[in-house]
Symmetry: C2
């Protein structure tokens, strides 16, 4: 087949740009809905989102795109392409094959099912009535299994789902890393719970002025290096980050009157996501490679800034004075007390409220259950008992009802099976990168103590941010640290930190 | 030709819904850019707007749409359609024919030309250098003449342009109404200028707290009947209103520290636009008829609320106390002084700063010049002299340079010839409707004096808002007032109001 390479490449790049533009437009519509769009506009807005999504899907699955991909994939052409175009071709092929394998009718049914299921989940969660949600969950599992059949099972059926969120990761790999993690963290959490040296957190529960909280959030964002000319900070019920383009990355936070740390660490968390999206290489902009490479790597950046930096002693040695100034008379405690209070570890039922140590156990429970569903055929009916049993085993507590148990997360109602592991992968990637950072920037904690955070941002830009989706997660972590993913780094980090805080 | 009516109608309605969804999405993108989108995202955002606009244009000009229109236009089918579908067919046909007559290449050249021209206009306005802008204006006039040739000249060539903003209006009609207006307003403005009873406005020039201004704007919006569950109020450099759907109508304002009236009347003005868009009939929602019927009728609503109601004596008898409370010690003047100060009439050079009387003269000047350009072949080179001569003749003042003269408005740089008359049409429609309102709701000023404004909103909903684009401007004004557009109502209103204020 003879093709005009330049012409095909141009058509292909143009299509990629169009897909990216639709993603940006849809991103604005979602951001807008979550940050204050008027209630009565929801129906019309949902319709507009549907119309744009359909067109985006049509652009992604067009026969013409398939033909351009086939043409560009010929080795004698592919080898002459630059690294960005090569990667664009392989990434687009992956998405294309996945999308075209789903019959549009099946896809539509699934979209309707999951959007209905989400509202039934909300009701079920409110009343703790799992039985009312169970039939929906059963159907979603059935559809997901159909998709796995159409896409083809990888090493295991569950691997097919994992790959959507963390390209390349497998059940075998997760068994290895989560196994190592669980083995060490369960006894560590137990030792912490038994320690007589529990931090005092009572002073955190006061009425903290919202405007002062806002001021401090903005101040910390500037300190970390968030570019306010390429982003903004707003409020929403559920905090999130969205990268519309490198020049427009938006984060939100939620200010609680009675908890000064919630918005604070939430803001730092979302800032980590934002730094990633703001600092992607110029030549990737306007392409579908201009975003984080995986949920796990993205989460590594939010958790690195929130926990490794934001909950560190040097950080508060530098910034506690600024916080005290904004809340006169409210934080008259030694900085060490504040540091310990923001690093309390305790087994709890709710994932999103968990500390940085037990959080991983919440994830491992979900991972093990998802694996049972897709690899062993466990059904929706069996989940509550399974859930409660694992909470008792790993965290030593049992939910008193399903609302604070198996019903707590939105993910499954939206069909997002395979997503949960990203959170713990993020923690592990972050700890492993930190070890390298400390070697390559030996005075890093001295810099944090002086409030000089930009060298850290620059290091991460050099190692992670700039590449966007140009490198896979495995390529990144190996290139940065010289090793594949290893849970021991997270174990070491947590042991070191909490043995000190709890005087174990 | 045999067609399945139901099937074609369904396809047609679906396409209309898609077009409307694209309009909503683009509306959100524009609103977002003007209310705080980060600077560095502009380039990417402009690209996204371009991609979506192209797709919207494709949906509007598709051959399939032309075929559906032809099928539905067959009398034996058209006559069986409901009034909404009939009107949708005729309105869509009008837009379709206009759009498909322009070769895409010519359209693209024009889009590039006008977007370049706007930045050259900005520079020229800054330096007052008309010569640097003149070649662009010449080209835009040339392109506009090409479009008139392609669309076909109506009664006069300029009529073709007028019809885009005010369907059905003609040069003959405007000559009649503007002639009547000019004849009466020029001597009235002169008499006002000569009056020894000039209002004192010095107390308006103070430092007014922005938060208090914001509070009052929100309060007044609630009083008038703006639905905050179907809209929101934000800030932008140039205030505007945008109706994304009836459930999501957004207005913006601009708070000036040294002028408490700017944001106040600006907010009321935009609220008038918003009430129109929020109160369109349910069965028009999601269609392209779900918006104001013309720029002139739209402007009649913003000006009715801003000037007829908002600058009336009963309105301030009711609300001045609320305003005084928000600015303690700053507005210790009798309400009559405040009323007169907000109704100062004085000839000035800048249209957007003009009072409600001389404003019309600014418009008549622009109308007469546009008519000369398209009906008499006057060129860009002749405009500054023409402009200055007319300002001297109608307003008794001559611009000292082109920045405050012929270069002041953005409209021509964007090719919006034919738009200016809408503003004065709005004033005339508003005055004519007011006369009917006073007859049908005899206690209307008593209600205003008591702050009971909702009956006025309800009357306008009944007469104007509900119909969206279902009625033409001429149909509306005749149905409401029993007469076609008559400038005498505006003349009477202005004479009555200002003879009182200036004791003529």
């Amino acid at each position: 087949m003879s093709v005009n390479k330049e012409e095909v490449l141009q058509l292909f790049r143009e299509r990629i740009g169009q897909i990216k533009s639709y993603e940006e437009a849809l991103g604005v519509l979602f951001w807008d809905m979550r940050t204050g769009a008027p209630r009565k506009g929801t129906e019309s807005r949902s319709k507009a989102i549907g119309v744009l999504s359909s067109q985006a899907f049509a652009l992604q699955t067009g026969e013409d795109l398939g033909q351009w991909l086939t043409a560009l994939e010929q080795p004698e052409i592919l080898n002459t392409l630059g690294e960005v175009d090569q990667r664009l071709v392989t990434e687009t092929r992956k998405d294309y094959d996945r999308s075209v394998k789903i019959p549009p009718k099946l896809h539509e049914e699934y979209v309707i099912l999951t959007s209905e299921a989400e509202s039934f989940w909300e009701q079920a969660k409110e009343t703790g009535d799992y039985a009312s949600f169970q039939p929906y969950l059963d159907k979603i599992i059935t559809y997901t299994n159909k998709f796995i059949d159409l896409w083809g099972a990888k090493e295991t059926r569950y691997d097919t789902l994992l790959d959507m969120y963390e390209p390349g990761i497998t059940t075998a790999e997760l068994d290895r890393v989560f196994g190592g993690l669980r083995e060490k963290l369960v006894p560590l959490a137990a030792a912490i719970a038994a320690s007589p040296h529990q931090p005092d957190t009572s002073f955190l529960k006061q009425n903290y002025d919202k405007d002062a909280q806002k001021k401090f959030s903005k101040f910390i964002l500037e300190q970390i290096g968030f570019d306010f000319e390429a982003g903004r900070l707003d409020e929403s019920v559920h905090p999130f980050a969205t990268g519309l383009s490198t020049g427009d990355v938006r984060i939100t936070t939620r200010y609680l009157a009675d908890d000064v740390t919630s918005a604070l660490f939430g803001t730092i968390h979302e800032c980590g996501h934002a730094l990633y999206e703001q600092n992607i290489r110029e030549d990737l902009r306007g392409t579908t490679l201009c975003t984080g490479t995986s949920m796990g790597i993205h989460e590594s950046q939010s958790r690195f800034w929130e926990n490794v930096i934001g909950r560190s002693r040097p950080f508060w040695n530098r910034y506690f004075g600024n916080l005290q100034e904004l809340f006169p008379g409210q934080l008259d405690v030694p900085v060490e007390d504040f540091y310990r209070a923001t690093n309390v570890v305790a087994p709890s039922l709710i994932r999103i409220e968990a500390d940085e140590l037990t959080y991983n156990l919440h994830i491992i429970i979900r991972y093990e259950i998802e694996k049972l569903i897709f690899n062993e055929g466990v059904t929706a009916a069996e989940l509550p008992a399974l859930w409660n049993q694992k909470y008792q085993e790993y965290l030593g507590i049992t939910p008193e009802n399903d609302a604070v148990g198996v019903l707590q997360d939105v993910h499954w109602s939206g069909g997002a099976f395979g997503y949960f592991p990203s959170y713990s992968l993020g923690n592990m990637y972050a700890a492993q990168m930190t070890e390298t950072l400390e070697r390559e920037l030996p005075n890093v904690w001295e810099l944090v103590g002086k409030g000089e955070l930009h060298p850290i941002k620059d290091w991460l830009t050099d190692k992670v941010y700039q590449y966007g989706k140009l490198r896979t997660p495995a390529e990144l972590i190996t290139a940065i640290t010289g090793k594949p993913l290893d849970p021991q780094y997270l174990v070491d980090y947590l042991e070191r930190k909490y043995k000190d805080i709890y005087k174990l």
